[in-house]
Amino acid sequence: MKCCSAIQKIVLMASDSKPQRLRQWASFQSSAAKKTRTMTTQSSLKDAFSSYADDLNHLNDKREKVVKASRDITANSKKVIFQVHRISKSNKEEVLEKAHKDLAAVVDQYVARLVKELRGSDFWKLRRAYSPGIQEYVEAATLCRFCKSGTLLNLEEMNASLSSLSDPSHKPLQINILDYILGLADLTGELMRLAIGRISDGELEYAQKICTFVREIHRELTLLVPRMDEPYDMKTKMETMLQSVMKIENACFGVHVRKSEYNPLLGSGDPSYPLMGVAGGIDL
């Protein structure tokens, strides 16, 4: 039927006085159409797009679930971080113990759910959906580790602890370097808060230790910035990070410089924290 009309058209056009090249064009167009029109345009297009719709729905649903799981990880990791900040000279043990318990709960409940949602999919494809949560988790986990042992929890250890979450038939979720590094960059902000808190609590030595640790991380990350996948994001993080490092350093400096003024107070307080009285006078 359609072929018929196409042929008709050629006949008509041939009798017409239109320019030569247009006639060529038209005959080509219709001869090509002869071959393909028979495959029915409308229905194949509909079929194709309904399968695209299924694919997109599937992907979007998955992404949505992953985003939700990521948000839960963020919220609960934040709680762990707040718990760590409740630390003081006297309650260190119990505070950290609770923080560790909370962190374990984050892994068992929320990270496990993320792993379940991501199961069988391309981690890189959905990275943007879960990256914020993972970064926050890295921040919480490394903070806990630092407070406990003064060391840096490295990526291998973290990934080893996550590999048990997924069932062996699927590739386990592994935190990628980028998220780990971005999480570490955020960690320095928390450590800054911790250090300032410790100084006002008189734990100068602890603050000093944090200072060294943060400096070390800052130095190492400085070399990594241009090699990151998104160097621009990392650059802004590094600027914030430098601010944090300098805040700690200035606080330590303040205590150090003013300690001579408070020399008479030495010995009047707790002998193991000779500068306890000093910190209260520092404008932080």
Binding site: S5, K46, Y52, L56, E156, I177, L242
Partner: protein, 308 residues
């Protein structure tokens, strides 16, 4: 940035210099707190001397200084050294991807310029031949890209952004060529086939394909206008039918608030423009020869217009 770095450095040295002696005076020699600081002090100058070398943390001197201190310091450095090596590899990989993507871009540009001949009233077979001559090159480019990415399995989507927009353009050119040739839409699997992107490891992303199709629809109003000017009064009707179908097809998709959605929202403007051209042609009786040849078909069009 530079000044921030300098202030950073000067603060370190300002606050560090008085520290070690005073602290040791206060607390006795606390290796944990004090020992690493000379290292941090040395860092800026050291880095300035050899910033690019990968193994610039020759930890031999520092580790001897800290042997009594934190045991963590060494693994920490070790880990970051590994990171640097891994990230360096990805930088090299990206550069190689970038080189191929530039070629894809220039091939696509050549193909586009071939397609533009259609506006210069060249005969369609010639335009199509010229345009299709580039498809082979595109396919070669993509197979080289696939080779590069086969070195890092499962990281397709890590680097996907690097060739995304070029691929969308390539799809739009292929789809336009295909439309000129057949009057139909190039489907996802067909587009993948033409680019050699139809295996599971290295495929054509569905969203890229859809964006490419929408890029093509942006071209159609111009095509219709120029065809009519050149005397082809049947063209608006065909393109209108095609775009109406395409619009209906896209409306089956649930889109997110992203670029694809934005492009889809633009489809209706292309459609409207083509409708206007069709109206202009029809109202002046220029498309009349079509009406006399096929009443059946013009009825079809009217139906589709009503639906629309």
């Amino acid at each position: 940035m530079k000044s921030a770095f300098r202030t950073g450095c000067s603060t370190i040295s300002r606050s560090l210099n008085p520290n070690p002696p005073s602290l040791s005076a206060l607390h006795g020699l606390r290796s944990a707190a004090v020992a690493p600081s000379p290292r941090s002090l040395r860092a800026p100058t050291f880095r300035a001397a050899s910033s690019a070398t990968r193994c610039c943390c020759s930890s031999s001197s520092s580790s001897s200084a800290m042997s009594g201190g934190e045991a963590s310091a060494l693994p920490l450095e070790k880990q970051f050294e590994d990171f640097r090596a891994q990230l360096e590899d990805s930088v090299v990989l990206r550069e190689r991807i970038r080189a191929v993507v530039l070629e894809i871009e220039s091939t696509a540009r050549l193909m586009y310029s071939s397609l533009l001949l259609v506006y210069l009233s060249r005969p369609l077979p010639e335009v199509l031949d010229k345009s299709k001559a580039h498809i082979g090159t595109l396919k070669d480019n993509y197979s080289r890209l696939a080779d590069i990415l086969s070195e890092c399995p499962d990281q397709y989507y890590r680097y996907h952004g690097d060739w995304r927009s070029e691929t969308q353009t390539a799809v739009s050119l292929l789809a336009f060529t295909h439309y000129l040739e057949t009057g139909n839409l190039l489907l996802h699997n067909e587009a993948g086939e033409r680019l050699g992107l139809n295996n599971s490891q290295f495929g054509l992303d569905l969203e890229d394909y859809l964006v490419g199709v929408l890029f093509m629809s942006n071209e159609l109003p111009r095509y219709v206008v120029n065809q009519v000017t050149a005397g082809d009064y049947d063209c608006p009707r065909k393109v209108l039918k095609f775009l109406t179908e395409l619009n209906a097809a896209f409306r089956m998709l649930n889109l997110r608030n992203d670029f694809l959605r934005k492009k889809f929202d633009g489809l209706k403007y292309d459609l409207r423009r083509v409708e206007e051209v069709y109206y202009d042609v029809k109202i002046r009786g220029l498309a009349s020869d079509e009406d006399s040849t096929g009443d059946q078909r013009s009825k079809e069009i009217n139906d589709s217009e009503v639906v629309h």
